[in-house]
Symmetry: C2
Subunit: 275 residues, 2 copies
């Protein structure tokens, strides 16, 4: 089911600035038993993104009511929320009166192979780079051509994800996930000040790691750091945590931290129990 | 009038990848007496953009027939063509079968004050930077948040345009136009290998300048180069050529090259005769 500004519909205006310029934001949430998981941090990131782009953010109560409506009866699935600067004709200039467009849609659960979470995944490094812009870094905006190009670099099921670097050869994230390393017994994730999306699951991992006696550090990460790492894993709001068992030919041990974190996040209801 | 895939409509699917990811391209053409101006170079750039993004480009004959239909009876106006990777659900991965979406819409002529072309315009330098990505540079794709943010930096009618730099302090272009400098008697325009849109009017200016005994050079341009320039002007497909008479307090002489180029492009039918 899809709601566009609260009305059941499957289309938006051709004048919508989301289409014209990618002038908007989105959130992708796991849904279990009709309820979106990690609603608060997702809405908080959406609100922050709207502030950064100066788009009036729809009221949380309204979004919540519409999310409840589209997710009703969904045992396991995906909720996508898009907020754009609305339909306002031609030209980059922001109109004086903005009526944002909000779109809530549900999708079937992607049904990742369960082995990925238990046994780890293979990952490759993409040629497509992430461009740097502090004004856009961190938020989940609709300008995603770099991810589309990066994701088009492999089409086999061999790789579950591709890692993206910035122009300065820093490792930033996966095309659809964030990256963590265990180095010298410490948990490290790339700094996203210049590029990348500050994933909700990334935030949950950062928040939960200390409870597992892991100190965490947000830092600049190089390919050399990945080579030296004791453990690597990916995270996002749908699959939760995937250990990386291989990166372009280099093998990594699966877990133990990724598996412990996954268990903890599952137990707290932050990850949808897939099986 | 708007045609979506050849059918009169004013909406596109909420699943369109143009909306989800800005996964597409656009062209903006001036229309005079029912005919789009500079059709061939616009379609050539669209085709090139489709190749770069690996979107199947709609046949030119089809686009031409639809353009003729939407532009019929339009004495002076704007034609916008959008081509996206179509409606394909969730996820960055490009689906095996792509049915691109094409949208052709007309808009009223923006009616710029005629004084801008004759007497020149005032311009400011924007704080928002253009990010660098050679994979996306030059083409007119739908990821335009940087332009939206830059254009939001001024709201008065005082400035007609804002200039954008990249992260390395190189001057790239205006938010909606390309920039030319006259330096040491030579015509110079910024190199767009890393960022920027290769404008159709920019191409026409580069092609016509030698006939006015001007040598042309595509080069890296700094703010210091702008300060030293003898003449500055902007160009795009709608307004043609605008001399810059002032940039953040520094005054420039208006023309003579910009005015001569404008006359030449007007005479050749490359610029819509506005008045």
């Amino acid at each position: 089911m899809t709601l566009v500004n609260g009305i059941e519909a499957d289309a938006v205006s051709v004048q919508d600035r989301g289409l014209s310029y990618g002038d908007g934001l989105f959130e992708t949430l796991a849904v279990a038993d009709g309820l979106p998981i990690a609603w608060e941090p997702h809405i908080s990131r959406l609100r922050n993104g709207c502030q950064r782009l100066r788009i009036p953010c729809p009221a949380e109560a309204l979004l919540r009511a519409e999310a409840t409506r589209v997710c009703a009866g969904l045992t396991l699935g995906v909720l996508k929320i898009i907020v754009t600067r609305g339909a306002n004709g031609r030209g980059y200039r922001i109109p004086e009166v903005v009526n944002p467009t909000r779109i809530l849609t549900t999708y079937p659960w992607p049904a990742f192979p369960g082995s990925r979470a238990r046994e780890g995944v293979l990952v490759t490094v993409c040629q497509t780079r992430l461009s740097a812009n502090p004004r856009l870094a961190g938020i989940k905006h609709l300008n995603r051509l770099e991810q589309v190009l990066a994701r088009s670099e492999w089409d086999s099921h061999h790789y579950a994800e591709g890692l993206m670097l910035d122009a300065a050869d820093r490792v930033v994230e996966g095309t659809m996930s964030n990256l963590f390393l265990v180095m010298d017994g410490q948990l490290v994730t790339p700094d996203l000040a210049d590029a990348g999306v500050a994933g909700i699951m990334r935030g949950l991992v950062l928040a939960e790691a200390p409870a597992l006696d892991m100190s965490v550090r947000v830092a600049s990460v190089s390919l050399e750091d990945l080579r030296r790492a004791e453990e690597l894993f990916l995270c996002n709001s749908l699959f939760g945590v995937w250990p990386i068992k291989g990166l372009d030919g280099q093998a990594y041990r699966v877990g133990p931290l990724a598996l412990r974190l996954r268990q903890r996040l599952l137990a707290q209801g932050c990850i949808a129990a897939q099986e």
